[in-house]
């Protein structure tokens, strides 16, 4: 059993970063995730693990610092919230194009524009469908507890390095701000130069030794024939992720006639909704995607064979529901329910939506 603590989701991100041997954090203050950098600055990891922590002049700078650090084969990360993540999209697409590993946490708040500082899930499209320009994907992990905020820092880095691809923790203002019991990971030392050489020695910009060719980190290729091949290589990587990295959780799906599909905070609410619905005699279960990209398409298809309808519950105007519908492909009714602008739906509202849109609907 690791060390147990009562902590905020955002604080745990900082703690987990230090403990998993992260080399560098570059960030810019924005509500509701400023606790990440505040915790790091208070913990002063540069004095213990040697981790670099830097407050950048903007989100644009912080993501490009991540680009620079990732180019050196280092474990680097940034965190922000929706408007800041929008600013980072340029850097994220460069990082994806240059095939670099890094970790980004988005503590989503309601938009569009400056929006609100309250929790939302309205950045699903941005996180899962690219976000910046070009054909690319992030690995997207959706924590629904403070414990998962902790676990996904390590998992995010693991997957990022496995695929040389940026990974994102898609959290929200509720998960980031709430306090829960968390079992912290043990300290792992930062990688030594020798370990980095072993892991990323064939591409990282660590200084050109006499016995090797230059390492050039770039996303530029003016020859379209080659650029197409590079794109195919990326697509093959995404296909492999879709085959091997799908993660999800099924709750009370065995006897279910209806299914909630929900991630993050909404999945927590749906667990209460299941209880309320089952007391009323409605057999409903929950499919909780843990990876939003790659999306659990097959498990949803499988459930669609045996249930009567699905309700995608999101704090958005209906984004993930498109992927649920693509998976179900018209076999059963799929509807969306969500509250917008930073409102968290109540469990009763969710059950009512199921009754009206799916059970009573048709």
């Amino acid at each position: 059993m690791g060390e147990l603590k009562l902590m905020k989701g955002n604080e745990v991100i900082a703690e987990a970063a230090i403990r998993c041997g992260c080399d560098g954090y570059f960030g810019y203050p924005i509500t509701p995730q400023s606790e990440v950098m505040e915790t790091l600055m208070a913990r002063k990891p540069w004095e213990t693990t040697g981790m670099v922590v830097l407050q950048a002049e903007s989100e644009v700078a912080s993501i490009n610092m991540v680009y620079g650090g990732a180019s050196c084969g280092k474990k680097v990360m940034t965190t922000s919230s929706s408007p800041g993540i929008s600013l980072m999209q340029e850097g994220i697409t460069y990082i994806a194009g240059a095939e670099l590993p890094c970790l980004i946490m988005n503590c989503v708040r309601g938009g569009p524009g400056l929006g609100t500082i309250q929790p939302a899930q309205s950045d699903y499209f941005q996180a899962c469908k690219g976000g910046g320009h070009g054909d690319y994907h992030l690995i997207v992990l959706a924590p629904s507890s403070v414990q998962e905020m902790n676990d996904f820092v390590n998992l995010g880095f693991e997957l990022a390095f496995k695929y040389r691809n940026p990974a994102m923790i898609l959290s929200d203002g509720a998960i980031g701000q709430m306090m829960e019991k968390v079992e912290l990971a043990d300290y792992k030392p930062r990688w030594t130069d020798e370990e980095i050489e072993k892991i990323s020695g064939d591409w990282a910009t660590t200084g050109k030794k006499a016995n090797r060719k230059q390492h050039i980190i770039t996303s530029l290729e003016l020859d379209s024939e080659i650029m197409e091949k590079l794109n195919h290589k990326l697509q093959a990587k995404y296909k492999k992720m879709e085959e091997e990295e799908v993660r999800y959780e099924e709750i009370q799906c065995d006897d279910a006639e209806y299914i909630f599909v929900a991630y993050g905070s909404s999945a927590r609410i749906c667990q209460k909704s299941i209880q309320i619905a089952r007391e009323k005699g409605i057999k409903v279960g929950l499919l909780r995607p843990i990876t939003l990209y790659p999306f659990p398409t097959k498990p949803i298809q499988k459930l669609a064979e045996k249930v009567k309808g699905m309700l995608s519950v999101e704090m958005s105007a209906g984004q993930m529901v498109e992927d649920v519908r693509l998976a179900v492909n018209g076999k059963i009714p799929v509807e969306h329910f969500g509250r917008l602008g930073g409102i968290i739906p109540s469990p009763i509202e969710v059950v009512e939506a199921l009754e009206q849109k799916i059970i009573g609907g048709k």
């Binding site: 620079g68 660590t206 200084g207 050109k208 770039t218």
Partner: protein, 267 residues
Amino acid sequence: MADLEKIMKEENIVYKKTKVLTDNVMHYCPGCSHGVVHKLIAEVIEELGIQDKTIGISPVGCSVFAYNYIDIDWQEAAHGRAPANATATKRLMPDKFVFSYQGDGDLASIGAAETLHACNRGENITMIFINNAMYGMTGGQMAPTTLVGMKTSTTPYGRNIDLNGYPMKMTEIVASLPGTCYVTRQSVHDAASVKRCKKAIKKGFENQAKKIGTSFIEITSTCNSGWKMPPVEANKWMEKHMFAYYPQGDLKDAERDNPDDYIKYIK
């Protein structure tokens, strides 16, 4: 031919291309300053023996392909963001030598914030700033450093202050920041200036080992295609007009000018 082979012996060599420069044919236009500056950087890297410790950050602009010519590890940054890449690279690997290589559009316009803040934090990096008063790669549009009255593809009637504001003296601005230790303005238009420029670049790299802050080296340059001038005419035009607005020489040398402050700084 036989005579030539007789002459080409090791003991007769008075000048030779540094090995840090690759054999790739440069894509730059005839008369362009980039090629000369690349050569100087490569020579400095060879002379300091830091080829295996140097990481270059290339920009978006004509010198986007700098990595094809200088045989070291490179990161190709997003437009204007080279100082951010350089900041992280240097902080994560403090014993390496890290430099950014940027044009005026990249460094003074879209990357102005990254430039000012890297300099203000006193990052221990060397910034090479090629100022040819123009966006060369995209076809000669107005840059922040374009002189008043200068014709570009987006100022076809000449840069107009009311419309476009004033040419920006980025080098003077960064010299005013406490984080910079060495700020200089050089050129490479004749033999003497090439020699001086190399000395400045070398000093910029040497400062990294001393960990005394940011070294910023502007190289006032020509863009023959953009200026629509043959090389010799462009050099003369630069001396007459560019040097008048962008005076040559050191703007700041903390180690030389303020030895007390400098000692305080490194303590």
